[in-house]
């Protein structure tokens, strides 16, 4: 896995580089927009992490230029800019948007689902399957071991998101943003209660647990193999 990091703050850059090297990824670093543009056009990367505020060529312009040039590499904006419209226009060209300060586990999880290596489920698939759990996106039904399970619309969206990223950790914030459209941190444990309800429906009474809690990071659904 090869990642391009464009970040002008030395300490933040070191923190990110160290984190990704520990996971075995190759990471190139550019400290400003110009250098970032050069690297991005010279080599091919699996993912780009771009700070939005950079000296000279800013991150937004950098990615706009790359996109205009046909570059489709998954990119995530890392930014201290969290204005009302910033997220919306940032997501128009980037695949994800993470506001500083952030936890490394959050960034790793987000880059992880952007990359989706291996035999991943695709967003265009009509059904998602994990072990004996099948989610039909058109009929909006869920079955485990052939047995229909009734879920509410939000539970369906939650399960759909987990299964779309099976084998990858999804964080609480990712769920909030993608399942509930919450771009803020609620003060009640809505994620935990929804996940626990969903678990009680799809895991209870079946042989293996499919939804796992990843301590300190989030949740993951996989075959449990």
């Amino acid at each position: 896995m090869r990642i391009l990091l464009v970040e002008d703050d030395r300490e933040t850059a070191d923190y990110i580089i160290r984190g990704f090297r520990e996971t075995g990824a190759v990471i190139d670093h550019a400290a400003d927009g110009q250098a970032g543009l050069m690297l991005a056009t010279d080599a091919s990367y699996d993912a780009m992490i771009i700070d939005r505020m950079l000296p000279g060529l800013d991150g937004f312009k950098l990615l706009s230029m790359l996109r205009a040039g046909g570059n489709r590499t998954p990119a995530i904006f890392l930014t201290a800019v969290s204005g009302i419209d910033d997220r919306v226009n940032g997501l128009a060209i980037a695949n994800d948007y993470l506001v500083k300060p952030f936890a490394f586990a959050e960034l790793r999880a987000r880059v992880g689902v952007m990359l989706r290596p291996g035999p991943a489920t695709h967003t265009e698939d009509a059904t998602y399957q994990v072990a004996d759990l099948v989610l039909d996106r058109l009929k909006r039904t869920v079955k485990r071991a052939g047995k229909p399970i009734s879920v509410q619309p939000t539970e369906f969206r939650l399960l759909e998101y987990l299964m779309q990223h099976k084998g990858h950790v999804v964080t609480r914030t990712m769920l909030l943003e993608n399942v509930w459209d919450f771009n803020f941190d609620p003060k009640t444990n809505i994620v935990e209660t929804h996940v626990s309800r969903l678990r009680s429906k799809i895991d209870r009474g079946f042989g293996s647990e499919l939804i796992h809690t990843v301590r300190g990071s989030g949740y993951m659904i996989d075959d449990g193999a």
Binding site: G83, I84, V88, P101, Q152, F182, N183, P186, K187, T193
Partner: protein
């Protein structure tokens, strides 16, 4: 030389200007009067001269030069004080009677008399090289002008004096008020924000201005008070968790077992996250209050938004044995869906977190009097009436709830989101519980 202060005041300058304008117009009137009177008097003199000349020429035509000479002598004798003067000039250039030097052509002319006054002269050519001149002295016109000048000064000088006096008095009074305002303003500038300007009570322009300034001062005082309050609360709310973070780090430094160490470090991270989140909330409130871009606003259906919120919070409520009641009437507003979601989430969480378990929370939306509204009501403990207005201000948290997690910014954030949508957030205590209504 220093100009006395009252001479530099706006009041004095205005009075001086008015006095000057008055003087100018008086002078114009006097000049017009003088000129028209002089013209009139001169006209009279000319007609007198014409009549006299005609009479003399009549006699001359009837009886010749001797009769004319006789006539003139007679007139001069009979009327020694007359203003008219006569001159008869022979072909040899000899002048008789008043001996004015006549011009060589007939008609009207002017000349200076021996005493320096103007003379108007009508010259007529007679037969055999004789010339007749009848003239009048304009001395009377000069007298009239002198009288007019004198009268003008007698009237105008006191007026100027009066104007200057009035200007001085007015500017003195004006200055005294300005001086009072200045003293008060200095006092406020030095930090006595409660000081207010004194209106005179006459209800004049000055009082109107003072009233406006006083209202501005009220607002400033309120804002400064809020600012102090907010800074104190920010300091308090950030110092407590940071202090606890410090304790955790100290425990780690003191050397705990590895397992405990990780636990302690995680606790420190949670505390720091809370602190960072408080900052985010402050920044968001600041951004909302500043207005800013509204590029992503769309038509938002309040009824379906309430549906979503109810679905999201239903499991949390169920866990606490709270009941969510939904009353939806069609209503939609133009706004930012993400922000409206956050506002409703904040209101619902506020009801959940600040009340004991087992309450009922009702979510309502609809249209009333042409205005869309959303309402979140609970049958919990409510807010003391005296605190209702204050809880919308940042960091205003009831002391009783200081122990619950959160930064005390939930309601003020909701209120900021409402004002971003030019909506009004109303808080009302019910017989039992609290009702928050946002009117769009």
């Amino acid at each position: 030389m220093t100009v006395p202060r009252y001479l530099r005041t706006a009041g004095f300058r205005m009075t001086a200007l008015a006095a000057a304008l008055f003087l100018l117009s008086m002078s114009a009137v006097a000049a017009f009067f003088y000129l028209s009177v002089r013209e009139d008097m001169e006209g009279q003199l000319r007609s007198q001269i014409s009549i006299e000349t005609r009479q003399l020429l009549g006699d001359y035509a009837d009886d010749g030069l001797d009769e004319l000479r006789h006539d003139i002598s007679e007139r001069l004798e009979r009327n020694p004080g007359t203003r008219l003067r006569y001159t008869l000039k022979s072909p040899a250039g000899m002048a008789l009677f008043d001996r004015l030097s006549l011009p060589d052509e007939p008609g009207w002319s002017r000349m200076k008399s021996g005493s320096g006054t103007d003379i108007i002269l009508l010259t007529t050519e007679l037969d055999q090289g004789y010339w007749l001149g009848v003239a009048a002295d304009t001395e009377t016109i000069g007298d009239m002008a002198a009288a007019l000048r004198h009268g003008f000064l007698v009237v105008v000088m006191p007026m100027i004096a009066l104007a200057i006096f009035a200007g001085a008095v007015l500017s003195h009074r004006f200055l005294a008020r300005v001086e009072r305002l200045k003293r008060t303003a200095d006092l406020i500038g030095k930090g006595t924000l409660s000081a207010r300007l004194d209106p005179s009570g006459s209800g004049d322009d000055f009082d109107g201005l003072i009233d406006t300034i006083n209202r501005m001062l009220d607002r400033i005082e309120e804002l400064v008070h809020d600012l102090r309050h907010v800074s104190a609360n920010i300091a308090h709310d950030l110092r407590s968790p940071l202090g606890r973070v410090r304790q955790r780090l100290e425990a780690i430094v003191a050397g705990q077992g590895a397992a405990d160490m990780q636990e302690t470090a995680n606790e420190a991270i949670v505390l720091l996250d809370d602190t960072l989140e408080t900052f985010s909330a402050i920044l968001q409130i600041a951004e909302l209050e500043a207005g800013g871009a509204r590029a992503t606003d769309t038509e938002v259906d309040l009824a379906s938004l309430l549906d979503e919120i109810a679905q999201i919070y239903e499991p949390v409520a169920a866990e606490r044995a709270d009941e969510l009641v939904l009353r939806r009437q069609p209503a939609s507003v133009y706004g930012n869906k993400a922000l409206l979601t956050q506002m409703l989430a904040n209101l619902v969480e506020n009801a959940i977190r600040h009340n004991a378990n087992g309450i009922q929370i009702s979510l309502e939306c609809g249209t009333e009097g042409g205005r869309g509204f959303v309402r979140v009501a609970d049958n919990g403990s409510g807010i003391p009436d005296s605190e209702l207005a204050a809880v919308l201000k940042p960091f205003r948290r009831l002391d009783t709830s200081r122990s619950t997690r959160g930064n005390g910014l939930g309601l003020s954030l909701a209120s900021s989101i409402a004002s971003y949508h030019r909506a009004r957030l109303d808080l009302k205590n019910l017989p039992i519980g609290l009702e928050v209504t946002v009117w769009f």
